[in-house]
């Protein structure tokens, strides 16, 4: 199965990770649609799948499949950048099965056992870490994540150490080490809720608006180098400036979560000022991607990968940058905190920045893992369709949630006298919630289109594109970017 287009045999382990990532992604979306429906049909699936269980499955699947995506990307990228085989492909495979089994068991646990029982069975009494948003995993799962992360980091760090040390690989390593390091705060759960929340944000915020941005930047830079052929020196410089801005704004930007949870008042200023600058790195990413495409020195046969990469930079800016900025200033957040506005921002930011970068990597790497430089024109056409269907569907969902959020703020938060109660307000938002379900279903169709692209046969008029190392050839698709 060793393909001529794969530079290092051990990159092949990435395939397992990518397939698992896409399978879990699909499950995540199915649970997402269930949740969307429960917003309008409150007793749907009750008591079999109460909302809180389904939500936990939805968000945990997202985290786990993105981690699979990051790990697969690292196993693919690192050997190629370091110009050497992976330190231990066997370890990578063993860890894959451990992680998959642990993940599956956890999800089954969430669905099959009442949460309190799960906590009891898994020794939450020994070290209580469960029941906090996104960190609902039982203790054994959390420990398993640490073990898998350590093994994974050991493997790729050793690979970089014995090979070429490029900026892209180093930034990726820093991002992944940072990710693992910050996860350790998930074991910190003080009895004081305010301190609990503060350390909780060390994981959540310093992941998505900190260390994950390093991973994002590095993966994006890798795909752009490969597909545009722009000089590495130029790309590296961009990468460093982008991640510098990400951390300079993002670390103190944590303060935008400290406004109303009992933290000192100066966080209103610190959080507002620094998080207002958080769109800068995302804007730079967009300029970077378009600039590299403009200056491209080759027309890579895989134009679909380029579309995902450029799409990631644009939607990432809209979701993380624009939708984040919208409610990040303390006087505005005072009214929007914990409303559907937050949900709108969360969905677009995760989709734009992290879902799309992982798909960009998969789209670039998967053909080579299957023995060709790029997929057939027809398969790429399915991919491009799926990009637009998913992106427009997500746009619809996010606009619906934003509409719901604005109305919610107007009815429930703004009035000083006689504000509408929570549940009465929810009834007023039904139109927007139905619109969101429509967006969700159509997103699923987009995802199925993407999955189909892996099986799509070449068009009747084309030979399958198998061009070993043939980087310099004519464009086969009209450039969409």
């Amino acid at each position: 199965m060793q393909a001529i287009t794969l530079k290092y045999k051990s990159q092949g382990v990435a395939k397992y990770y990518f397939i698992a990532a896409l399978a879990l992604f699909t499950a995540q979306i199915l649970f997402g649609i269930t949740l969307g429906l429960q917003y309008v049909i409150g007793d749907l699936a009750f008591p079999y799948i109460p909302f809180n269980q389904a939500r936990m499955v939805h968000t945990n699947l997202l985290i786990v499949w993105l981690l699979f995506g990051f790990m697969g990307s690292a196993y693919y990228l690192v050997p190629e950048e370091a110009e050497t085989e992976l330190y231990s492909p066997k370890l990578a495979l063993v860890l894959f099965w451990i992680f998959l089994a642990a993940g599956a068991l956890t999800i089954v646990g969430y669905l099959a056992v009442p949460y309190a029982k799960l906590a009891e069975l898994t020794g939450n009494e020994l070290l209580a870490t469960m029941g906090r948003e996104f960190l609902e995993q039982p203790l054994p799962t959390k420990l398993g994540i640490v073990v898998v992360a350590l093994g994974f980091l050991f493997n790729i760090s050793m690979t970089v150490l014995k090979g070429r040390k490029t900026s892209i690989a180093l930034v990726l390593l820093m991002g992944l080490w940072g990710l693992a390091l910050m996860f350790l705060f998930s074991f910190v759960n003080p009895a004081n809720l305010v301190r609990d929340k503060m350390y909780w944000w060390f994981v959540v915020h310093l992941w998505v608006e900190g260390t994950w941005e390093l991973i994002l930047g590095s993966l994006l830079a890798f795909v752009l180098i490969k597909t545009t052929g722009v000089d590495r020196e130029v790309i590296d410089k961009w990468l460093y400036v982008i991640i510098a801005m990400a951390l300079i704004t993002g670390i103190l930007g944590t303060g935008h979560h400290f406004f109303f949870i009992g933290m000192p008042g100066y966080w209103l200023w610190v959080g507002s000022i620094f998080s207002a600058m958080e769109p800068i790195p995302f804007f730079m990413m967009t300029v970077f991607a378009f600039n590299m495409v403009q200056r491209r020195r080759r027309d890579h046969a895989n134009q679909a990968a380029l579309l995902w990469a450029v799409g990631c930079s644009v939607v990432g800016f809209l979701g993380a940058g624009l939708w984040g900025f919208m409610h990040t200033l303390a006087p505005i957040n005072y009214y929007t905190h914990g409303t559907q506005i937050t949900a709108a921002h969360g969905h677009l930011a995760f989709y734009g920045a992290y879902v799309l970068v992982v798909i960009a990597m998969i789209s670039y790497a998967m053909p080579t893992l299957r023995g060709r430089e790029a997929n057939s024109r027809r398969a790429q056409s399915f991919e491009m369709w799926s990009f637009w269907i998913m992106t427009i569907s997500m746009g619809l969902m996010v606009l619906a949630l934003t509409g719901a959020g604005i109305l919610q703020v107007w009815l429930q938060r703004m009035p000083t006298e006689g504000a509408m109660p929570f549940m009465a307000t929810q009834d007023q938002l039904r139109f927007f919630y139905w619109l969101r379900v429509a967006g969700g279903v159509s997103f699923l169709l987009g995802l199925l289109t993407y999955l189909y692209s892996f099986f799509a046969a070449p068009g009747a008029d084309e030979d399958e594109v198998v061009v070993p190392n043939g980087m310099m050839h004519r464009r086969v698709m009209p450039a969409r970017a």
């Binding site: 049909i41 409150g42 007793d43 009750f46 008591p47 109460p50 909302f51 809180n52 269980q53 939500r55 949460y115 309190a116 009891e120 209580a128 469960m130 029941g131 948003e133 609902e136 900026s167 009895a191 004081n192 809720l193 305010v194 301190r195 929340k197 503060m198 590296d236 410089k237 460093y240 400036v241 991640i243 510098a244 300079i248 670390i251 103190l252 303060g255 979560h257 400290f258 406004f259 109303f260 949870i261 009992g262 933290m263 100066y266 966080w267 209103l268 610190v270 600039n291 905190h337 914990g338 559907q340 937050t342 949900a343 938060r413 703004m414 009035p415 000083t416 509408m420 109660p421 929570f422």
Partner: protein
Amino acid sequence: MNQVKATGFTKQMARNMFYGGSLFFILLFAALIFDSERKIPTRSNAEAITPAVERGKRLWETRNCIGCHTLLGEGAYFAPELGNVYKRRGPDFIKAWIASQPTHIPGRRQMPQFNFTEAQLDDMVEFLRWTNNVNTENWPPNIEG
């Protein structure tokens, strides 16, 4: 971009900006967290954290309440904010409400029955009472949360 090159901005400078900038802001962040840790006890009324409050927090966690509700604005947005529910509804209503779930009203969002004992219901209320008194910079804007 071209002007990046024209001003003589090199990759090394970009890298130094990354390392220097990150280190500076990590240290500044650590200093602010250190200061916050000193102020949290007063702002959160920490001496009022009784064993009952701690038990209540554990119940809150192991029943995954955050999967539907928000607490001080954080959590899921499916069910009402509970940071100020003590003020909004009072202790007796809270206990009666939890004990009477689910409502089984067709089409309405349903809350599970947790089979709490009377003592556990009291712990839950104690936790919500303590939370209600955290200094949240006057958030939420009104009683509805």
